[in-house]
């Protein structure tokens, strides 16, 4: 089966995110005050062949560790969707 997967990659908490900080500083210019904690990440969508959801998750986790995220500075979260 082919499972859809969504990988959310973020800079690890505690690592400064200059993009998020810049956006946070820009928002008040549009009148949006009281906004804090802006952080920018990226989303990677993919379809992965696997026998079941557990295997799909295992495969995507491995891809994250080896390529999709850099464990030195990034954390990731995998969401497995319904099989197609």
């Amino acid at each position: 089966m082919s499972y859809s997967a969504r990988v959310n990659v973020m800079l690890k908490s505690g690592i400064a995110d200059p993009q998020g900080q810049t956006i946070e500083r820009a928002l008040p210019a549009l009148g949006y005050t009281g906004v804090t904690g802006v952080r920018v990440g990226k989303i990677i969508e993919l379809h992965v062949d696997a026998a079941d959801e557990t295997e799909a998750r295992r495969r995507v986790d491995e891809m994250c560790e080896r390529l999709l995220a850099n464990p030195v500075i990034e954390s990731y979260e995998v969401t497995i969707g319904d099989p197609g």
């Binding site: 690592i15 200059p18 390529l67 850099n70 030195v72 500075i73």
Partner: protein, 238 residues
């Protein structure tokens, strides 16, 4: 006898000619090696030049690390050969796990193209032997992702082992501990964000970058120097 250098060219590399010109001006023979090669030619030095290997897609250096030539580059370092990664080359070395840490976007979110002053922190390595500890060299930077980072334990390790070779005098990009260039424990791999190859001719504004290539060439020409880490480190402030 001349030292020999292999300059690896990835799709998107753009500093290979500059590096070759600098090395040749110092009497080093150079040869370009396409990233798809699975072996390296007979060589003393390997250079991963600056640029945007594989378009810097996903992360800088993330795809380049899987180029076929990288296995041979790792083998070269593992057998005592010297590898230097400049700018994008440094990013590739970090992604490949040949050097610790990672390069983040510059703290100011600006692409930086300017001269920097770098302080030599350890000259007991094949990459800095021609320099003095505390010597300040003027070398340009040209990058968006030069903000080096690692965790606390790794940083302590690097400090204790004298592996931080160059620090910015005036940190331009937010790099942790002002790090501009680091080496590995074996002293076979050196990565730095500044471009020493662009500071090898007076006409370009500085010849200070030569000291790095001269050190490497010295090492290559020294017969019977299989152990780059064999010298006693001379550390600033110890």
């Amino acid at each position: 006898m001349n030292a020999k250098a292999a300059v690896v060219v990835f799709p998107g590399s753009n500093c290979e000619q500059d590096v070759e010109r600098a090395l040749r001006s110092l009497g080093c023979q150079t040869q370009r090696v396409w990233h798809a090669a699975e072996t390296l030619p007979d060589t003393d030095l390997v250079v991963l030049p600056g640029g945007f290997a594989h378009g810097d897609y996903l992360r800088t250096g993330a795809i380049a690390r899987f180029s076929p030539v990288m296995a041979a580059v790792q083998e070269h370092a593992a057998t005592g050969g010297l590898v230097i990664g400049i700018c994008n080359g440094f990013q590739i070395l970090c992604e490949a796990g040949m050097l610790p840490g990672a390069l983040r976007k510059n703290a100011g979110l600006k692409f930086l193209c300017r001269w920097t002053d770098l302080r030599v922190e350890n000259n007991a390595t094949p990459f800095t032997s021609r320099a003095e500890v505390g010597q300040v060299v003027r070398v340009p930077i040209n990058h968006f992702e030069g903000n080096w980072y690692c965790d606390d334990d790794t940083l302590a390790d690097l400090r204790d082992s004298g592996s931080i070779l160059l620090r910015y005098v005036d940190n331009p990009n937010g790099a942790l501990d002002d790090v501009a260039g680091i080496t590995n424990k074996d002293r076979t791999v050196f990565g730095l964000m500044p471009h020493p190859e662009r500071a090898c001719e007076a006409l370009l504004g500085s010849e200070d970058g030569r000291v790095i290539f001269e050190s490497m060439i010295d090492h290559a020409l020294q017969a019977g120097s299989p152990d780059p880490a064999g010298r006693v480190p001379e550390m600033l402030g110890t």
